[in-house]
């Protein structure tokens, strides 16, 4: 039987429209807006000035902060603006706006690398320089994940191919079409961390991906493909570890503390691609779907292409009621289609009214369904109620910070209470209080 974790929900998956369509390359747009913040951590400082000509793959932003990752030009052309622009995180972020000259003139520094000739330290440095961040949606700089704190020995590298969010088939197509790259990326991660055993967890609704990965791994014993039962949030780091390795991350710790590093399959593919070609992370696969999209599918998009450009290319049948970056469970609603595709944009969903029913919250009936499905084994209803009343100390006591906002509680709540939203608000208040000292 396929493995899984405790708790979780079964939302309608709605992947059928895109999961069998091959990845198509989207033509590069006239202008790209490249935010200097596309990861969790410190914002990059711009390395180019307005009016300057930049090459394809040129580093245009970097930072000295320990948790940060450089960004690169995804087209060649001229920098026409350096200003704050709308960002998928909902705020305005300093971005480099480049006018495309359609020459795709590659930066002279770009040259293919050979993994076998590089030491683990060189590879780690390269992963940083190539601007690789978690492409599943988290956006945590990959190089920072691969350096364990003192006293910790890593013993497993786990690739996340669960893709449990409805609609999204990005990772699915990446695994099917670029299985060799995924495996090569995993080998690179294993070399950097000195780990002998790698795992790729894939939900069993992607049998073709499992088959392709097994073919790519062939008879090698160091990589194991783990079929997982279909359940949300299987792709959450801690749940994936529980499902694949039957290990639990202790409260308040990170997977690295139990010797595990988890990365998305698309991240691994990007590492392999950047090694093979020498190009940094300048494009990614994005699922474009939703009832308002004329031609749903998976597209290979230059980083910095606006959602509007992508949607124009794929056609709209109607004005979308809601525009999401990411999946419907954890994705964020966009306030404008002018936001650019970032390294961690896994999907663009233009949902119709019928796909995003408005609900009105009612009183909690104390059915405890949210507690049953919570994969982190906390009490969503209690934390949300404390959050709603501004009693965030109590919310923290009951484990608000354990919550990774998968939204399973809100999904099942028969009273339609926006539980995860209240918990998120409580969390932001707790962090704000901590920052105040």
């Amino acid at each position: 039987m396929a493995r899984t974790f405790v708790g979780g929900v079964h939302p309608p998956y709605r992947k059928g429209k895109t999961c069998f369509l091959p990845i198509e390359r989207l033509s590069a747009p006239k202008t790209v807006v490249i935010p200097l913040l596309q990861h969790i951590g410190g914002i990059n400082a711009p390395l180019v000035a307005v009016g300057e000509r930049v090459f394809f793959g040129q580093k245009i932003g970097d930072s000295d902060a320990p948790i940060a990752c450089p960004v690169h030009a995804s087209v060649s052309g001229r920098v026409i603006a350096l200003e704050k622009r709308a960002h998928p995180n909902g705020r305005e972020v300093l971005s480099v706006v480049i006018e495309n000259d359609y020459a795709d003139e590659v930066h002279p520094s770009v040259e293919p690398k050979n993994m076998d000739d590089m030491s683990p330290a060189d590879l780690l440095q390269w992963i940083r320089e190539a601007g690789i961040v978690g492409m599943g949606g988290g956006g945590f700089p990959t190089h920072a994940k691969l350096t364990p704190p003192a006293g910790v020995t890593l013993d497993a590298v786990l690739l996340n191919g669960a893709e449990c969010e409805p609609y999204l088939t990005t990772d699915h197509r990446v695994m099917v079409e670029w299985a060799e790259d995924v495996v090569l990326g995993l080998r690179c991660l294993m070399k950097v961390t000195g780990v002998k055993q790698g795992y790729i967890g894939v939900e069993v609704n992607k049998q073709d991906a499992v088959a392709e990965l097994r073919r790519a791994v062939a008879s090698a014993r160091d990589i194991q493909i783990v079929p997982l039962a279909v359940k949300y949030p299987q792709g959450a780091e801690q749940q994936l570890i529980q499902a694949c390795l039957n290990r639990r991350v202790p409260k308040g710790r990170r997977p690295v503390h139990i010797g595990v590093v988890v990365n998305n399959v698309h991240t691994a593919q990007s590492i392999a691609h950047s090694l093979r070609t020498g190009l940094p992370c300048v494009e990614r696969v994005v699922t474009v779907d939703g009832a308002s999209v004329e031609r749903p599918g998976n597209v290979l998009v230059r980083i910095g292409t606006s959602f509007a450009d992508v949607l124009t290319e794929r056609g709209l049948t109607s004005e979308p009621y809601k525009l999401l970056s990411g999946g419907p469970m954890m994705g964020i609603a966009m306030h404008t289609p002018a936001v650019p595709v970032c390294k961690c944009t896994s999907g663009i969903l233009a949902l119709s009214r019928a796909e995003s029913p408005a609900t009105e919250a009612m009183t909690c009936v104390r059915c405890a369904w949210c507690i049953d499905v919570c994969p982190m084994l906390i009490y969503p209803t209690l934390i949300a109620q404390y959050g709603e009343r501004g009693r965030t100390e109590e919310a923290e006591k009951y484990g608000a910070l354990e919550c990774h906002e998968c939204g399973a509680c809100t999904y099942v709540c028969p009273s339609h209470i926006p539980l995860v939203q209240w918990i998120r608000l409580a969390k932001s208040d707790i962090y704000a209080r901590r920052n105040r000292g």
Binding site: G90, R91, H335, P418, Q421, W422, L425, D429
Partner: protein, 269 residues
């Protein structure tokens, strides 16, 4: 049925005896272990308003009363009681209180409701100003204005704030105690405390340039400077594209109200 009166009497007698013994025990304990309550504490608590709003920084009136009676804190920390309370506390504690010149009233400095200020997107999340502001600074096109989800109404312990049909808070000056909870809790910092006797207000917080304000709000300050020129006592100053009144100088003449082209300056409230 025959009743055994002896058992009944025995039970009554036994219970009665137990009651007497425990009663005596409690009486002795009450005398022997009596805690000396500070009479001052009870008196101080008696004159405090009893709103338990927490504006003094202590957990409720009892907490503040304890601190005051132990002379750990100044007596002017309660904004609710006003000058009456200051006088009473001063008498109780034997200190001379400095009376506030004028009563303060909380006032929202934004008048751009649904009718005047358009939104950038439609928001369906939880109906709370802090939540909507966490999302891209709120749905209002104006990044300085009131988002209108009524967090101040929930915060006010005195029922002094209501939202009008235009989704702008209205403060009932009679009920407002100037406790400052709305001032501290508003994510857009719309509220300020102003002297109750002053009734000319520039109801805008926007530091956007005039051209920007014109596009996103019909009652926002466009920093034209007409009010600065009109003011006979130099009470209005322009700072960072926003006119601001110095209430210490303002004489309530209302000339700025007449001049203001966008009707940002109001008289009354």
């Amino acid at each position: 049925m025959q009743i055994d009166f002896r058992s009944v009497l025995l039970a009554l007698g036994a219970l009665g005896a137990l009651g007497l013994i425990f009663g005596a025990g409690l009486a002795i304990a009450a005398k022997k272990f009596a805690v000396q309550a500070d009479p001052l504490y009870a008196q101080v608590l008696g004159v405090l308003p009893g709103a338990n709003c927490g504006a003094c920084g202590y957990p409720g009136c009892a907490g503040y009363a304890t601190a005051v009676s132990k002379r750990l804190v100044a007596i002017d920390k309660c904004p609710v009681g006003g000058n009456d309370l200051l006088g009473n506390l001063g008498r109780l504690m034997g200190v001379k209180a400095k009376l506030a010149a004028d009563r303060l009233v909380a006032t929202p400095y934004c008048d751009g409701g649904c009718a005047e200020a358009p939104t950038r997107f439609s928001y369906e999340g939880i109906q709370d100003c802090v939540a909507v502001v966490a999302l891209s600074g709120g749905d209002k096109a104006c990044q300085y204005g009131c988002v209108g989800y009524g967090t101040c109404v929930k915060l006010c312990k005195f029922g002094a704030i209501t939202m009008d049909d235009n989704r702008i808070p209205v403060v009932d000056a009679d009920k407002c105690t100037a406790c400052g909870l709305c001032v501290a809790g508003c994510p857009k910092d719309i509220f300020s405390l102003r002297p109750a006797g002053k009734h000319v207000h520039i109801r805008c917080r926007s530091h956007d340039k005039g051209a920007v304000v014109r596009k996103i709000c019909s009652v926002g300050c466009i920093a034209c400077g007409l009010c600065v020129k009109a003011c006979p006592v130099d009470a209005i100053a322009m700072s960072n594209f926003l006119a601001q009144i110095d209430y210490e100088k303002c004489i309530n003449c209302g000339r700025c109200v007449e001049k203001c082209p966008t009707k940002t300056i109001h008289s009354g409230l």
